[in-house]
Amino acid sequence: MNILDIISDPNTRWILLGTMFLGLSSGVIGSFAYLRKQSLLGDTLAHAALPGICVAFILTGVKSTSFFLIGAALAGLVAVFLISVLTRYSKIKQDAALGIVLSSFFGFGIVMLTQIQQSEYGNQSGLDTFLFGQTASMVMSDVYMMMTVSFVLIFTCTLFFKEFKLLSFDPGFAKGMGLPVGILDYFIMMLIVAAVVIGIQAVGVVLMASLLITPAVSARYWTERLHVMVILSGIFGMLSGVSGTLISTSVNDLPTGPLIVLSATVWFFFSMLFAPKRGVLSSVWRRVSLKKNYSLEQDKRKGRHTS
């Protein structure tokens, strides 16, 4: 199949639109998560979604995306709450707290998932697709939801750009100024949960974090301005969504979610190598030319001395 064939297929067009918006919004909110050194938080929230989805299924008995999403969001809230309790009332540092919550929630989720799969109506539940995502299971209403949530996410980040910026750079100063830092903290986490939730269907809980982190890290290589970074990160996310979907559609039986993640990784390597100033090649080049200039000058000086 060539690209024109793929795009002319209405079903694929919808999926493309969905993954595009997913990449865009997770890239945007992911920038703030990354700068706030909360990359692992996205991963934890994504893994924590699994038990939420299972509980939603057990309670309702039907496979309904909206119920699953509510379940995932509630589980994310509980996870966030547990993390803040762990870090505040014990001597456990945040990375350890995130690790504990991530693995225990995910383990719990897998146990429930296995139980559901073994029950009579389990095989039809299709819950296992939430592990690594399955774009084929997406219907039009899912895409509408992805677009709506993306729009809200991007709009919110634009509206509170100034506050998010200050909070990311210097939370102490922000607090001294009277910004409700604690509330904003939860707010940003909820936005991350929202991005995770719309990404679960396409990319899955296991890999979702990479859509939050990788585009942001890639974008950071190219710029020293926050707003440029946020926009670039959105674009990288969007490109990853689009290219992952296109590749998986043109090559039979390749899963879309992992391909989206791999596309994001390709963008990351490209940025790491070729970005001006911060990129690896440019800094190697800078060092080499500095050395060369220095030794040339040394030679000149020596030449002058001997003549």
Binding site: E163, G172, F173, M177, E224, L226, M229
Partner: protein, 250 residues
């Protein structure tokens, strides 16, 4: 003289043990006050507690007779330089503009007026030429000046500065203290957490000796005397006074 800051019974604890214990004091307006004391005396904690950056167990803070919350816009803050990651995608001018955010309020974007104000403050700290420089490419002293400019942009009446002289060279230190003295001349109140005992007499007209409790507070010439210092620093000062006694306590 009006009281700029009044602290009553402030107690702060991290884990069970209080770091700052039942601290009460008053600071008159238009003074440059050095807060000194040994490591772990709670100097930074005191400032953070007053600014409500960390929860307090008890205590009442009043600024010019009003509650702390209602006076927030008249407070400027210079945090420790190491408290932020300087490899943040922003430039010097942007950081200084953050000082205007409190006056701007929610949802409003910084515009031309804020940029002008920020440039003015950069000028005061001698950093105009670095306005568009990425902040990680500034030296420690320059970063400190940027933080100071940001506090100036807050246009506050009372400033809290957490170790502004750490890691800056002598020239920068002199430039900063010059600026703080100018602020004082304009009737502002400046509280500075300070380490270097040898410059206390030169810099500050008031001194607070802190070691979990306020040991002494008052005009520097009355407070900064061997007896009180000994009391504050305990045995540790013996070493200090051996090597630096002439310079220090004359």
């Amino acid at each position: 003289m009006e009281v700029a800051l009044k602290v009553e019974n402030l107690t702060i604890a991290y884990h069970k043990k209080p770091v700052v214990e039942e601290v009460s004091f008053e600071v008159p307006e238009g003074n440059l006050i050095g807060i000194i004391g040994p490591n772990g005396a709670g100097k930074s904690t005191l400032i953070k507690g007053i600014l409500e950056l960390i929860p307090k167990i008890s205590g009442e803070i009043t600024i010019k007779g009003s509650t702390y919350k209602s006076m927030r816009k008249s407070i400027g803050y210079v945090p420790q330089r190491e408290s932020v990651d300087w490899d943040f995608p922003t430039n010097a001018l942007d950081v200084v503009m953050m000082g205007r955010y409190g006056h701007l309020g929610w949802l409003k974007r910084p515009g031309k007026a804020e940029r002008l104000k920020a440039m003015e403050c950069l000028d005061k700290v001698g950093m105009v030429d670095y306005a568009n420089r990425q902040i990680s490419q500034l030296s420690g002293g320059q970063q400190q000046r940027i933080f100071l400019a940001r506090a100036l942009a807050q246009e506050a009446d009372i400033y809290f500065m957490d170790e502004p002289f750490v890691g800056v060279d002598a020239a920068t230190e002199k430039a900063i203290i010059q600026l703080l003295m100018e602020l004082k001349e304009k009737g502002k109140t400046v509280l500075v957490v300070h380490h270097d005992l040898s410059t206390v007499k030169e810099y500050f007209d008031w001194t607070m000796l802190l070691n979990k409790k306020v040991m002494k507070i008052g005009p520097t010439e009355e407070v900064f005397i061997p007896e009180y210092l000994q009391e504050t620093y305990g045995g540790r000062l013996a070493i200090l006074s051996d090597t630096k006694s002439g310079l220090l306590l004359k």
